[in-house]
């Protein structure tokens, strides 16, 4: 398998990897599904991310973001991020979805704020801590 993509994770101003922190607070199934899905996405060209099964680009108030979609521990997991360069995806915020609503409700707003920070300063991301191959 060729790994095409690298993933980066949002760092808070104090240097905390917020995605790793959210990941570590999840149950085992969710953690390993996240690892598994990133491994699969990493091997796919972007046009094959687009079928809405593994990933979906968002619109409306979430425009400019995409969600990695999977169900872990009976909860719809929605790590939000954006394509930060040709073969790089920055994960900004680990949201959930319940009954067609974001949890937390302002997940997109917070992710968009983080996106602006990352665009202004790329040091506000860390390389993904998980090995994908």
């Amino acid at each position: 398998m060729a790994v095409l993509w690298s993933f980066r994770c949002y760092l808070s101003p104090d240097g905390t990897d917020e995605i790793r922190k959210a990941h570590d607070s999840e149950e085992r199934q969710t953690r390993k599904k996240f690892h598994s899905r990133l491994k699969i996405l990493a091997a796919l060209p972007f046009e094959e991310w687009h079928n809405g099964v593994l990933y979906r680009e968002l619109h409306g108030e979430c425009f400019g973001l995409g969600e990695i979609k999977f169900k872990g521990d009976n909860v719809q997991q929605r790590p939000l991020g954006f394509r930060s360069s040709e073969y790089e995806f920055a994960i900004l915020f680990w949201a959930h979805e319940r009954g067609n609503k974001w949890v937390p409700l302002k997940a997109c707003q917070r992710a968009l704020e983080r996106k602006a920070e990352v665009i202004a300063n790329k040091d506000r991301t860390n390389a993904l801590w998980l090995a994908l191959e």
Partner: protein
């Protein structure tokens, strides 16, 4: 990472816990199967909608949508036989060693999941070429008597499924696939022995 290996020391370090490994394998297998079925359906020669595949299987579109959902955890072996049959492809089930599983499970790009349906002319031409000592492309060997080979004898057989994908998590990884008869796009020569497809753990009873 040594050249050509699809895993690194760091990666293995993240699946040393057996429970972690079980969850990881389960998702890889389910997701790859979902992608495989979708890729077969959308392959250029077919370009079937979910409704069309459903009609060929005698199932409503909603069932196809479900089996193409990587988060759906209850795909049965019987349903897989029916899916493969709709594509006129055989089914391959295996519980391989980890090295082989790592090599195969990463094949998720749609161009790596293309499979040609049964075509007697093509197969006969290959058989004749082999008989006459002419190169006929990479033809995978089949292990006679293996569970996978017996399972691949067809959806019309009287096999029964005693488990589903959601149950009996593996201690060994499992593979399941629609098999490409001639190794097209697959690079079988890279594999130390026969290798096909992906699924979670299951138990097959061929009578």
């Amino acid at each position: 990472m040594p050249y050509g290996l699809p895993w690194s020391e760091e990666f293995i370090g993240q699946i040393t816990d057996k429970d972690d490994r079980r969850e990881f394998v389960a998702d890889q297998v389910r997701t790859r199967l979902a992608l495989l079925i979708r890729a077969l359906r959308e392959q250029d020669e077919r370009q079937w909608s979910q409704t069309e595949l459903g009609q060929r299987m005698g199932k409503p579109q909603s069932v196809i949508s479900r089996i193409e959902d990587p988060d759906y955890g209850k795909l049965s072996l019987q349903t897989l036989f029916e899916v493969a049959d709709a594509f006129d492809l055989p089914l391959w089930v295996d519980i391989p060693e980890w090295e082989e599983w790592f090599r195969r499970i990463g094949e998720v790009e749609s161009k790596r999941l293309r499979r040609r349906s049964f075509n007697a002319e093509r197969l006969v031409a290959q058989a004749r070429a082999a008989r006459d000592g002419q190169p006929s492309g990479a033809i995978p060997s089949i292990c006679p008597g293996s569970v996978a080979t017996r399972a691949s004898m067809g959806a019309q057989g009287n096999q029964t499924m005693s488990d589903t994908v959601s149950q009996a998590m593996p201690t060994q990884p499992a593979l399941i696939d629609g098999v490409n008869e001639d190794g097209h796009n697959r690079g079988y020569a890279d594999y130390p022995r026969n290798a096909m497809g992906t699924l979670n753990s299951l138990s097959v009873n061929i009578q």
